[in-house]
Symmetry: C2
Subunit: 374 residues, 2 copies
């Protein structure tokens, strides 16, 4: 069930209840603009991934600035976007099972919907649902470009699958989904460059195989926040899917640029706001954000204002702050901004964004697709 | 926002949409009964922790079988329990900040409410709110018995805090909260025994210090699923707070008994139900449950039916299954039960329990306090 709303518009930041998920609106807007700038001179369309923000309000802002639509990972996420006003969604994932396939077909009556396949089973089911709902579905084949998750390698099976899509009623073969998830968090520019060069090679190979059969790839889509300049400049990708750039996180902050320095393009705009609830010893404080308020799968959250303080998991509802300076003035009731280790699963723990500008609450946005896992 | 309901009562298990959180109702009921049996011959009250299940339906079952009430970690969790029918809640945690303190005081008009303190600031705020709402609050002092999270050690500060509670309007000093969280997952019985022996020693010390000042501890409460027989037999604890025993998880399954064998008292009754969505290679399958569907902070989920298959994180929405037997027959669309690594934060990812008996859906229960972090 949705939790209580932790703030009201007009409140001062210090009055916001905790744990709360804050957006620094100035920085969010800078990140959105920066990506538009970055894409402008490149021959690629921008289709940001909505799995990061799960919020139709932010998706519509991205689209108003020129994005062609959004990506989603789940049908229920796509429903939240479409019924929140988005007209063009790409489910960058395979959809399996009767209830989801029904909803996928039905959704295609209300918006332009594309979806991935890597097996003839997917295609047969998509075609059945599209016919039943008298709707059209775009289908992209997922290509394994190195992440070794879903997806086919370039080869006969891929060509056969494209043939099948072309021959299937109410389906349109729309191209290739060639996302290299594992490359996004490689720390050095060189490592990411190498991984994406290999991904581009495999993608070209697949495109050529299909061309030999007279099948054109309208869309070649992929890339994330960590690698998108590489795919965008590859000459073969014509669509990119970055998601995390809107918010960033402590894990992405570890990525280095060509000169070995932290990437500066996007600013941290998302914060978990937390309160000191206990101050039992000089070297320890306890805050009210634990495993249920901040994701730790990619590392601990950081506290930018207190660089001599480390966060450690203190359980499901507690965070331990280790104070390396015991003279540090930190009292019960003090509130702190933390940078989550991983933005996407942290967002999924909250029902509301509290948008902050000039230290006041300006917006309360529902995280409409929070928990949308079906 | 709550996600779609993944099932209907009467469905066969195989029809349930995924990812879904399944309860094996027979096993849940066995676990509930086993704890009642275990407590019956001991001089302790049972106050299960509702942070595990977050569901008033289960809380009321526990109370119907003799539990005196439930524990919660957050005011919003307590609200979900009280407004779901629970008459007696103990917030086994400090509550800080105006919005929460107001709700705490207001809630005490609708049920018997107890809360923790480890600092005079907590006490002053609790008393103010209790007076404002013309309500009574029980306050327990949190004792640090070895977990080194919140809580005071036995000593002068503790005695002074008890004095302050006794002297505060509309507050009643109700005793000590002496929970040793860090001891619950110590693997050997000897290690847990040693930790709880130390915790019992500290608790006795605190009780005696208070007695010397003429302050009696009505309630000495603590213990979790990993250690509760030790606290229950200590002669000093008169209330226990186990939570995870209702469901269990892969982490608790690693605890050993006195003979070095896995604990058998409680059965795994909670499962994440997931579907194979891609089968790209002979040694790999991909399922639709990733970081947003199963908590991995305490280790990977297990798949009891496939003991030669390992789960690895495949991202926010994907799980990778590594098949050590490439001949393993596992097809797209096949559904599997997984045992979560850690039950509490996994529950917090879902809005609905799907209760299964004899392979059919018997109940859909709302996880009313899912996401209740305020």
């Amino acid at each position: 069930m949705p939790d209580l709303i932790p703030a009201r518009v007009g409140m001062r930041l210090e009055e916001v209840d905790t744990p709360a998920l804050l957006i620094d609106l100035d920085l969010l807007e800078k990140n959105l603009e920066r990506m538009v700038e970055d894409v402008k001179d490149r021959r690629v369309r921008l289709r940001p991934h909505a799995k990061t923000h799960k919020c139709a309000v932010i998706a519509l802002k991205q689209i108003a600035q020129g994005a062609v639509g959004v990506c989603c990972q789940k049908v229920s996420e796509a429903e939240a976007m479409v019924y929140g006003g988005v007209r063009d969604v790409f489910i960058s994932n395979e959809v399996v099972g009767r209830p989801k396939i029904e909803r996928l077909g039905a959704l295609a009556r209300h918006a332009k919907v594309a979806v991935c396949a890597d097996d003839p089973i997917h295609v047969a089911e998509y075609s059945r649902a599209a016919q039943f709902y008298d709707a059209d579905l775009d289908v992209l084949i997922e290509l394994n470009v190195g992440a070794n998750r879903c997806g086919l390698p370039p080869g006969d099976a891929l060509v056969k699958l494209a043939d099948l899509i072309v021959a299937s009623q109410r389906l349109r073969f729309a191209g290739l989904h060639a996302y290299h998830g594992a490359a996004q968090h490689l720390r050095t520019w060189t490592a990411r460059q190498k991984a994406i060069a290999a991904a581009v090679g495999r993608t070209m190979e697949a495109v050529e195989l299909l061309q030999q059969q007279g099948i054109a790839c309208e869309t070649i889509t992929g890339a994330g926040t960590g690698t998108y300049p590489l795919e965008a400049d590859s000459g073969i990708f014509n669509e990119i899917q970055p998601g995390s750039y809107v918010f960033m996180d402590a894990d992405y902050a570890k990525n280095l640029d060509e000169n070995g320095r932290p990437l500066q393009a996007f600013k941290q705009s998302l914060f978990v706001y937390t309160t000191v609830m206990s101050r039992p010893t000089a070297d320890r404080a306890v805050v009210d954000a634990g495993l249920k308020a901040v994701a730790v799968d990619s590392g601990m959250p950081l506290i930018p204002a207190l660089d001599d303080v480390d966060y450690r998991v203190g359980g499901d509802e507690h965070g331990q702050l280790i104070l390396h300076d015991p003279g540090r003035d930190l009292k019960i009731g003090d509130k702190l901004r933390m940078v989550p280790g991983h933005c996407d699963p942290t967002v999924n723990l909250y029902d509301w964004y509290v948008g902050i500008r000039k230290n006041h609450v300006e917006s309360i946005w529902p995280i409409a697709a929070r928990g949308a896992i079906l």
